[in-house]
Amino acid sequence: MNSKIIGRIGIYAFLAVSTAFFLIPVYIMVTTSLKGMPEIREGNIFALPLDPNFSAWFKAWSSACIGMACDGIRGGFGNSLKIMVPSVILSVALSSLNGYALALWNVRRAELMLGLLMAGAFIPYQVLLYPLVIMTRTLGIYGTLPGIIAIHVLFGLPVLTLIFRNFYASLPTEIMKAARVDGAGFMQIYWRIMLPMSPSILVVAVILQVTGIWNDYLLGLIFAGRDNLPMTAQLNNLVNSTFGEKEYNVNMAATILTAATPLLVYLASGRYFVRGITSGAVKG
C-alpha cells in the first residue's frame, strides 16, 4: 500500500522534472520573443515581459537581415514548403505502394529486400553525403529543387516502407485472398481496399516525414542550392550572423516560427498518430 503511494510520487516527480526540462526553454523563448531589446539587456531571462508585443515576430518574419538581404525568414518558409510538400507526398505514396507489394504479394527476394531496407533505415546518412553529391551532380540536379526533393524521398523510403510493410502484413490475409478471387488486380486492391484501410498509418508516415524534412538542415544546406535554402538554414544564418548586436528577441521569434509547422501538424493529428502507432506500426 505504502510502496504504491511512494511509487506514485516517484512517477509524478519524474513527470514534473521531465516536463520542466522541456517547458523552461520554451517559456524563455516565448517571453524573450515578446520583449524589447532594452528589457533583454537587463539579463533577467525568467522575468515576464513588461510590455509584451509582437514586433520582434514581425521583424523576424519579414524584415530581419540575413546577410545582405533584409526580408526576414519568410522566403525560407516558402522554400521549406516547396521542398516539403512534394517530398512528403512522393515518399509516402511510393513507400506505401512498396510496403503493400512486399507484404502481400509474392515478391521475389522479399527477404533480401527487407534486409537491405533495414540497413538503409539505420545507416547514418552523413556517410552517404559525398557519394550523393557526386551522383546528383552527374544527374544535373545538384543544387536544385528536384535534387533536394529526390534526396528527401530517397532517405525517407526505407523506414517508411518498413512501417507500411508491417502494417499491411498485420492485416488478415484472407481479405487479400477474397479480393483476388473477386478478380481485382494489384492496383485495384491497393486503391480500393488497402488504402482505405490505411488512414492511421498514413498519418503516422506523413507526420514522420513532415517533421523530418522540415527540421532537416544539413541536406537542405548541401543539396537545395542557394535559391532554395530551407527555413532551418536561413534561421541558422540569421541567428549566427556576425554583424552588429545580437537581437535575441528576433532570433527567438524566428526559431518559434520555424518550429511552428511540425508543431501544428502534431497538434492537429496527434490523436491519429498515437492510434496509428499502436494499431500496426509497432504491432506488425
Binding site: 488478415p172 484472407e174 481479405i175 485472398k177 477474397a178 479480393a179 483476388r180 478471387v181 473477386d182 478478380g183 481485382a184 488486380g185 485495384q188 480500393r192 481496399i193 482505405p196 484501410m197
Partner: protein, 362 residues
C-alpha cells in the same frame, strides 16, 4: 454447373509435404465436403483449387480444362472464408458489388444482381451497413452474398461457420444447403466438424495428414468406415472399438474377444476371413443394447456400468467391458447408473471389422 478433377496433386512448403499425389473428382452439382482435423491441409487444397497458391506438382481440371497457372478470377469460382474477410471500409452493398465492378459490369446490372442476391439471403435491410455494424451471422451471410452475386460455376467454402455459435451454425447449415439446392452450383466445403459434413454433404472426403482416408456418401461413411480413423472421427460419440481375433467355429467366422464371442456370419467381409487374424471390432453406441440376445452366439458380453451422459433425446451409458470402454445410446428411461455388471448384445447387421495391423476395414 461444373466438374472438377484433381490429378496427382502434391504440395510442399520448403521441405514438408502437406499432401502428395491427391486424386479427387467432384461431380457436377455436387456438394462435396472436405472433412479433417485442423492442420491436415484442407485450406491449402482449397487455396490451390482457387488459384491462390500453386501446387508443387499435379493437375486441376475444371470441366476438362487444366486451370493450373490461371488467376483465381479466370477459374470461374468464388470463395467464402472462415474469417468472413469482408472489406471493412465498404458497406455490404460495396462488398457485394466490388467483384462485379472489377469485372466491368454496367451499374444497373450490378444493382439488379446485388438486389437479387440480397433478397435470397435476407440482406436487403443490411445493404448499407459496414461489416463492423453486423453480427457474426450477418457478416457470414454478407460474405456468402459476395460469393454468390457473381456468376460462377464453383463455390468454395473454407470453414465458413466455425466462428459462429452453435445455434446459428445449425441454422446457417440449413441455409447454405438450401441455397445449393436452389442454385445447383458445384460446391466444395471444408470443415473439421463432422456434424456439418454429415448434415450438408452429398459426399464426404475424409482427409488426415494430407491423405484421403475415404470418399463416400455420408451414410456409407457412417455405416462402413474404411479405417479406424474414419470410424473414430465420424459420429457424435465415436464408434466403440473392441480388440479380438478371428476364429472359425463350425464353419462360421466369429470375433473372439476376451471373455465373449461375437457372431460375424452376417458381416460382409471383403476377402474371406482368416482364422487367428487380429481384429478391432467396431460397434456404434446405438447398436448396443442391454440384455441377452435371444438364441444367437452373440453372448457373454458382460459390462460394468460406469457413468451416464444424458443428451436429452437419448442417453449415453458408459460401461467397461473388461478394461475397454463401451458406450450405449439408450432411451433415457432405460438409462441406469447402478454400477452393476449386466449383459449386453450387439446388432449383428451393423458391425465393422478392422485389421489391427493395417487399421483398414476387412
Amino acid at each position: 454447373m461444373s466438374e472438377l478433377n484433381i490429378v496427382n496433386l502434391s504440395k510442399r512448403f520448403d521441405n514438408t509435404a502437406v499432401f502428395e499425389n491427391i486424386n479427387l473428382s467432384v461431380r457436377e452439382k455436387e456438394f462435396l465436403v472436405l472433412l479433417g482435423p485442423s492442420g491436415c491441409g484442407k485450406s491449402t487444397l482449397l487455396n490451390i483449387i482457387a488459384g491462390l497458391e500453386s501446387p508443387t506438382s499435379g493437375r486441376i481440371e475444371i470441366d476438362g480444362k487444366d486451370v493450373i497457372g490461371l488467376e483465381p478470377k479466370d477459374r470461374g469460382l468464388s470463395m467464402v472464408f472462415q474469417s468472413y474477410a469482408l472489406y471493412p471500409t465498404m458497406t455490404v452493398r460495396g462488398n457485394m458489388s466490388f467483384g462485379l465492378q472489377v469485372a466491368g459490369l454496367k451499374r444497373s446490372e450490378i444493382e439488379r444482381k446485388v438486389e437479387k442476391a440480397a433478397t435470397m439471403l435476407h440482406l436487403t435491410e443490411l445493404l448499407d451497413r459496414k461489416p463492423s455494424q453486423l453480427s457474426g451471422g450477418q457478416r457470414q451471410r454478407a460474405a456468402i452474398g459476395r460469393a454468390l452475386v457473381r456468376d460462377v460455376s464453383l463455390f468454395l467454402f473454407d470453414e465458413p461457420l466455425s466462428n459462429l455459435d452453435a445455434k446459428l451454425r445449425s441454422q446457417m447449415r440449413g441455409e447454405i444447403r438450401r441455397l445449393h439446392d436452389t442454385l445447383g452450383v458445384t460446391s466444395i466445403y471444408v470443415t473439421h466438424d463432422q456434424v456439418e459434413a454429415m448434415t450438408m454433404a452429398s459426399s464426404i472426403v475424409v482427409l488426415k495428414g494430407g491423405v484421403i482416408q475415404q470418399h463416400a456418401e455420408p451414410q456409407t461413411l457412417y455405416d462402413e468406415p474404411e479405417n479406424l480413423f474414419v470410424a473414430g472421427f465420424i459420429g457424435a460419440s465415436p464408434m466403440n472399438i473392441l480388440k479380438g481375433r478371428i476364429a472359425i467355429e463350425a464353419g462360421r467366422p466369429v470375433a473372439a474377444c476376451t471373455g465373449f464371442q461375437v457372431d460375424l456370419s452376417r458381416y460382409r467381409f471383403k476377402a474371406p476371413p482368416v482364422a487367428g487374424q487380429e481384429i478391432a471390432l467396431g460397434v456404434r453406441p446405438e447398436n448396443v443394447c442391454f440384455g441377452e440376445a435371444g438364441g444367437t452366439s452373440n453372448t457373454g458380453v458382460m459390462a460394468r456400468i460406469d457413468y451416464v451422459e444424458p443428451l436429452g433425446a437419448d442417453t449415453l451409458v458408459w460401461t467397461k467391458v473388461g478394461d475397454e470402454a463401451m458406450s450405449l445410446r439408450v432411451d433415457p428411461r432405460e438409462a441406469r447408473l447402478d454400477r452393476q455388471t449386466v449383459p449386453l448384445h450387439f446388432d449383428l447387421d451393423r458391425l465393422s471389422v478392422f485389421s489391427r495391423e493395417t487399421e483398414r476395414r476387412l
